[in-house]
Amino acid sequence: MAEKLLKKGNEAIALAAIRYGVDGYFGYPITPQSEVMETLMEEMPWETTGMVVLQAESETSSINMLYGGACCGKKVMTSSSSPGISLMCEGISYMAGSELPCLVVNVTRGGPGLGTIQPSQGDYFQAVKGGGHGDYKTIVLAPASVQEMYDFVGTGFDLAFKYRMPAMILSDGAIGQMMEKVELRPQVQRLTDKEIAKKYGDWATTGKSGRKANFISSLALEARDMEQINLRLQSKYRIIEETEVLFEKHLCDDAEYLLVAFGSSARICESTVEMARSKGIRMGLLRPITLFPFPTRIIQAMLPQLKGIMSVELSAGQMVEDIRLAVNGAVPVEFFGKMGGIVFSPEEVLNAFTAKFNL
């Protein structure tokens, strides 16, 4: 029988890391995600799976530890919250440029600056548009439950290694801190160097043994070389946009109006949809699970049946820009959100919706 536990979202991340055969976790304490490293230290996976867990001196250092570990072909991850992720953006850009897989978990809090420790989705742009310097993307998964916090560790690593690029779990303080039932998956064995080379290719810096020396860098001084690297990255991103979109639809079949929301906002919007339906409004909810790749085509395919869309976010309106790009003026796209750690209620969402669409 499957093992079920009552856990916080942050604890689920830690347990998933051990169970998924992650090789290394490197992190720095920051609220509201410190339970990830605390749980790992309590579990002592170095004595069971051999997983390395290390508290770094800063987020800058932890992301660069990921860079080193990823160069070795290992499954390495970190977790942090908004200000810490800002510090990591340099390293994430380097890893995108060097085509290295890793998993970064952002349990976001309200910003800008030191901000607040309450939940927010104000890091959407940073996560989805790049965050660091240069033309790059990370695969972004947005969990809406503790179970998804657990499961997306595996999904994130699978995608990161498949495309050799960083993947991010974009969660928030609400999902990280709330407790829910979580079903643990069976233990996955950590891969040996030979298994890594066989599965993902012989590119890692494992010591030059029986092959040419491997070198990992994001540097290409010649513009023509750098252009080729950029073209390769962009073609990879196009493949991801074609093949890796994940989403969930709730009561969309007959919907005339669509709410689009991810993560904890989507949980709130589920109740809004029920309330709207009880008032005779044919409302549905689209929950993007991957924020990059964004479910652009899914939205476009729904346009003939829709009278309007409202993006609901814990921010000043960020994802709404991607929705508007997808819709391209075909139907009105409105926005409702709260900032600074304030979370809206289902009623507030419905009131905003009826006001904006004069219903």
């Binding site: 090789d23 290390l54 860079y67 030059k208």
Partner: protein, 253 residues
Amino acid sequence: MDTHDIIKPENLVYGKSKVLTDTVMHYCPGCTHGVVHKIIAEVIEEMDIQDRTIGVCPVGCAVFAYKYIDIDWQQAAHGRAPALATATKRLYPDKYVFTYQGDGDLASIGTAEIIHACNRGENIVVIFINNAIYGMTGGQMAPTTLLGMKTATTPYGRKAELNGYPLKITELVAQLEGTCYVTRQSAQNPASVRKAKKAIRKAFENTTQRKGTSFIEIVAACNSNWKMAPVKANKWMEENMFPFYPLGDLKDR
């Protein structure tokens, strides 16, 4: 006896290390980097650890070190080499892991990373090239630039009240419990090259004994940015750098 008679394998007294590639180095004539690369390659060859050594190169002139020493390399962001080396060594405890960093990389932007890697006692080797100037960006003030020294950003000489003092980071890391071997060497003549090589070999051997971090500073010349001919640069280094950065072991346990 003509040249043909002399060039025979049995007469060979010196050869280039097999661990050095045939790529022509981009370093300026008179630069210390090439000599230190040679020493590292020789140590790796003599210890027979080419297949178990992973280098982490910096941002700076040595960003291209991977072209010259034929081992697996990671190229770090500016200053972050000790963080990469930390993870690499912890994930591969049986490999030899070293960083190769300049003064700007190690003692300015990467101060936090080097202090904490040394303080954790990571079982890595740190090769620190101190030529008191930023080489690759064109000769700006480094944390180790001497007082009075002219650079592109201290055109009238480094002044303590404006620029602070030169940082003796090697003395600093010697204070940390995590370091087992901290030494300052140079490589401007055969005797110093021999000493530096001995130190680097010892540092690589230390890492297998899990004794902690081995830290080797090489006081070096950047004749191009010092705007001196190579011979004069070495003489200037001996007369000006060595009094402030005295050579020798600071710690050996």
